[in-house]
Structures are given as structure tokens and as C-alpha cells.
């Protein structure tokens, strides 16, 4: 490629420790001692390994793979939450990591308060959030419910609010983890249109879904991760054939 990639993984590896001490407690410690398991026998496993890929600005990258293949690990690494244990992950832009957003709501707070809280947590200033506030509320279709505590919302309403925040408070790179296809049919249509609008803008999206239909619809490039390693990468159409044939 001629231009500098906006996201670039070089030989990336992320290691997890399956430590006996992870959830450790006195009981576990005693068990460990009792069974004479050496503490050094702590297992490790690579959540991702030898991963090489590039994403150009404006690309919509779909990440294919089964559950547990390392898709979420990859998103977290792009977001800077995990540091590479091996290799490099270069990200040349700001990232909004809207991963499983609605789980971040504080139930006792109102929709309005949650919009500001999530906005500030994800690194936006109060001013930026205020500027987007009307857009978020309007898109979520929550109307007066926005002033009610989130605990009174249905799961659909929560998802709608989560999606509206994610779509409005965005950065150069947007990480999307299974938050599409929320709400009723009408809302799904609306969010689909919004996504297509987004794709046409110069924003870069990394899209994770185990629903290959979603990926097929939105992304132009794909990578396929299998057991933490890159199985294939390329244009969406050819990747889809490969993936579905397997």
C-alpha cells in the first residue's frame, strides 16, 4: 500500500496467563500446596499470535471467526487496553471503543446522566457531548424516557441508547462489537442506514460479529482469525466464500 495504514499489526501476540493464582484464594493456595503442584506450572496461552494485517483509512474491516477465536482480544488491543506481549500494534488515530456499550450504564442514573457519564469515560469533553446530545436523544427515540432512570428501560431501549451514543460520539476509528441489529425492525432499518452513512464517511471501522451477514453487508475488507492466528485476509467477497465453505 502506498499510504500509511491507520491500523497495523506486526507479528502481534497477546498472551493470557491461566494462573492458579488468578481468582486466587486461601483455599486454592492450600489446594495447590496440598497437591504439590508447582506454582511454576502456570499455563499460558496465546489469545492472538503471529498476527499481521493492515487497515487503511476509511476501510471497514470485518473480523470473522468463531467464539473464542480472539476477536474481542483483537478489538481490545486496538483500543489500547491490552499491550502486545509480542510484536507491535500501531494505531495512528483516536479510537472510540464502543464495546458492549449498554452494559456500561449505571442503572440508577437517568438516560441523560448516562450519556454524559459514558461520554466522559470514553474521553469526550462535556462540551463535545453537549453538542451531540440532541442528536443522541433524537436517534434513540427515547423521548421523555431519557429523563428516567435506566433501570426502568426495556432491554431494547437500553440497546437503542447504547447504539445512539456509539454512533454519535465517534473518533477516527470505531470499534464495533455486536452492537448492530438492536431494537425493533424499524430501529434496525434506521441504524442500518446510519451505518451505511458512516461507512461512506472517512471513518475507519473494525467490525466484529459472528453473524457473517452483518460483515458481508458492511465491510469491504475482512480478516479471518482462527484460534488466535490469522487464517486468511482479503476482500470481503472472497473471504466470505472461504469462510462459509469451511
Amino acid at each position: 500500500m502506498e499510504t500509511n495504514p491507520i491500523i497495523e499489526a506486526k507479528n502481534l501476540g497477546i498472551k493470557y496467563k491461566i494462573s492458579r493464582f488468578k481468582r486466587s484464594s486461601v483455599m486454592n493456595l492450600m489446594k495447590t500446596v496440598a497437591t504439590r503442584n508447582s506454582l511454576k506450572s502456570n499455563g499460558e496461552f496465546w489469545g492472538l499470535r503471529n498476527l499481521n494485517f493492515e487497515v487503511q483509512k476509511g476501510d471497514i474491516l470485518g473480523v470473522l471467526g468463531k467464539n473464542g477465536s480472539g476477536k474481542s482480544t483483537l478489538l481490545r488491543t486496538i483500543a489500547g487496553i491490552y499491550l502486545p506481549d509480542e510484536g507491535e500494534m500501531n494505531v495512528n488515530g483516536t479510537v472510540s471503543s464502543m464495546l458492549t456499550l449498554s452494559s456500561g450504564f449505571k442503572e440508577d442514573l437517568t438516560g441523560v446522566e448516562n450519556i454524559f457519564l459514558i461520554g466522559v469515560v470514553t474521553g469526550f469533553t462535556e462540551k463535545e457531548i453537549k453538542a451531540k446530545f440532541a442528536e443522541i436523544v433524537e436517534f434513540s427515540e427515547l423521548e421523555d424516557f431519557i429523563y428516567q432512570p435506566v433501570k426502568s428501560y426495556s432491554s431494547g431501549m437500553k440497546a437503542r441508547l447504547g447504539f445512539s451514543i456509539a454512533i454519535s460520539l465517534k473518533r477516527d476509528i470505531m470499534l464495533v462489537d455486536e452492537i448492530l441489529g438492536v431494537g425493533d425492525f424499524k430501529f434496525r432499518e434506521k441504524s442500518r442506514k446510519k451505518m451505511i452513512e458512516l461507512i461512506k464517511s472517512d471513518i475507519t471501522v473494525v467490525l466484529v460479529s459472528h453473524n457473517s451477514e452483518t460483515i458481508k453487508e458492511y465491510s469491504n475488507k475482512c480478516i479471518w482469525i482462527h484460534e488466535g492466528e490469522l487464517k486468511a485476509a482479503g476482500e470481503t467477497d472472497e473471504m466470505m466464500k472461504l469462510y462459509l465453505d469451511s
Binding site: G104, L117, V121, T125
Partner: protein, 261 residues
């Protein structure tokens, strides 16, 4: 030193987040309650009442100023217990957040200390009228109060940073700390006067137990009208050591939190 500067820089760069976390935490804590923020004042008041009834009426101990002496020490310990008790579990409690967004996680630790401080300051609203009522000696030494509060703040942050990491890798610590903090209270001169400790042990007692000098100092400046004595430097020393150890250890482990939580 480097990690301390980096942590402070990190927190300052996201000071609006610290403000928001505190606001929302206070809202959640006191909203939906008929008496709302009044609870922040009533709570220490009732706590004091219980100890006064217990010591003055049941055990028939303590002198005329006992209630305010007790309260001036207990109020600060309440702050420490609240913040530390929450900080042991703070990383586990916020696991979702840690795995979703990157930000200086020490803000979470600081937040618990801030809320404890907020409650402490509201507790002072109960304490000051009581100081009048019990004929406390007012003097310019009262001006030491903000200084003592700042040192306790640093102490609690440093200790909280250490414990939050320890609590993440050793979950039993939550339960252990509950007991430890109760034992420390009984080992420290809050419920009793420091004069009760035999004279020959006093020096070593004041040097080893940071709360001994802390409580004595609070009692001195608030009730007795005396300045802090040299032993307060012991507490200052503990605060600085914990701050350095805490930031060093926290910075070293910080990038593993999302994986290990």
C-alpha cells in the same frame, strides 16, 4: 518518582472524568432516599451516638470531653475505612469498565478517596457544633486541620493504590481487610486516650502505628487546642512511603488489569 509523576499527569489529563465519577457516585448513593444528602450527616452522628452510649453510660468511663475526642478521631478513621474498604475491591467492581475503555485507572482509586473525603467534610458539620457544646479549646492550631487532611488524603491514596492491586490478585483480601481495619481501630487511640498506653511503650507505639499519631493529632488540634507534635511526622512518613510504593506498584501492574480482572 517517575511513576508518581506519570500517574499525576494521567489523572490531571482526565480530571473531568474524576469529577464525573464522583458526581455520579454521590448521586447513586444518596438519590432515591427521602433524606438524601442528609444521610451523609446523620450517619456519622448516629455512629458517634452509639459509642457515646456504650462508653459513657454502659461502661461509665470517659471524661466530660470524651464524646468529641472520640468523634474527632473516629470521623477520620471512618474516611479511611470507607475508602480503603472500597479500594480493595475497586478494580474487580469496575471490571467491565477496565475491559472496555482505556483511561488512567488510578482515577478509580482516587474517586473512592474523594467520596470518603466528601463524607468526612460533611461529618465536620456535626463535629463543630459539638466542639462548642463540649467546651473544646479553640485556638489558631485549628488551622492545622487542612494540612492534616491533605496528609491523610495522600496516605489513603497511596494505601488504596497498593491494596487495589493486591485485592485484584488476592480476592480474600476484601474479607481480611474488614477484620484488620477493626483490629487497627482497637489498637489505636480513638476509643481511648494515648495516655492509657504505658509510658515506656509510648514512643515505640507512636512510631509503629501511624494511626496513633494521626488520631492524637486530630484530638489535639480539634479539641485540646494543641499543635501537632513531632510524632505526626511518623504519619507523614508513612503517607509518603505508601504514595511512592502505591504508584510504583500500580503503574507496574496497570496494563495487566484488563486481562487479569
Amino acid at each position: 518518582m517517575k511513576s508518581l509523576i506519570n500517574q499525576i499527569k494521567g489523572v490531571l489529563s482526565r480530571i473531568d472524568l474524576a469529577k464525573y465519577l464522583m458526581q455520579t457516585d454521590l448521586k447513586v448513593r444518596y438519590k432515591n432516599k427521602a433524606l438524601g444528602f442528609l444521610w451523609a450527616v446523620l450517619d456519622p452522628f448516629f455512629m458517634m451516638l452509639i459509642y457515646i452510649i456504650l462508653v459513657s453510660f454502659v461502661f461509665k468511663k470517659g471524661d466530660a470531653q470524651y464524646p468529641v475526642l472520640l468523634f474527632s478521631a473516629l470521623l477520620s478513621y471512618r474516611w479511611f475505612v470507607f475508602s480503603t474498604g472500597n479500594n480493595v475491591a475497586v478494580l474487580v467492581k469496575n471490571s467491565k469498565l477496565l475491559q472496555t475503555v482505556k483511561f488512567p485507572f488510578s482515577i478509580l482509586v482516587m474517586n473512592e478517596v474523594n467520596i470518603g473525603l466528601f463524607n468526612y467534610l460533611l461529618g465536620l458539620i456535626v463535629l463543630f457544633p459539638m466542639l462548642f457544646l463540649f467546651n473544646a479549646t479553640f485556638s489558631l492550631n485549628l488551622l492545622w486541620l487542612p494540612v492534616i487532611i491533605v496528609v491523610q488524603y495522600i496516605f489513603t491514596i497511596g494505601f488504596g493504590l497498593l491494596l487495589s492491586v493486591a485485592g485484584l490478585y488476592f480476592r480474600d483480601l476484601q474479607n481480611i481487610m474488614l477484620f484488620l481495619m477493626r483490629i487497627v481501630l482497637y489498637l489505636s487511640p480513638a476509643l481511648y486516650d494515648i495516655a492509657l498506653i504505658p509510658a515506656k511503650f509510648q514512643h515505640i507505639y507512636l512510631c509503629l502505628n501511624p494511626f496513633a499519631s494521626l488520631f492524637d493529632t486530630y484530638k489535639n488540634i480539634l479539641v485540646r487546642g494543641l499543635p501537632p507534635n513531632g510524632y505526626f511526622l511518623v504519619f507523614v512518613g508513612f503517607a509518603i512511603v505508601f504514595l511512592f510504593l502505591g504508584t510504583y506498584y500500580f503503574t507496574k501492574k496497570e496494563h495487566n488489569f484488563a486481562k487479569d480482572v
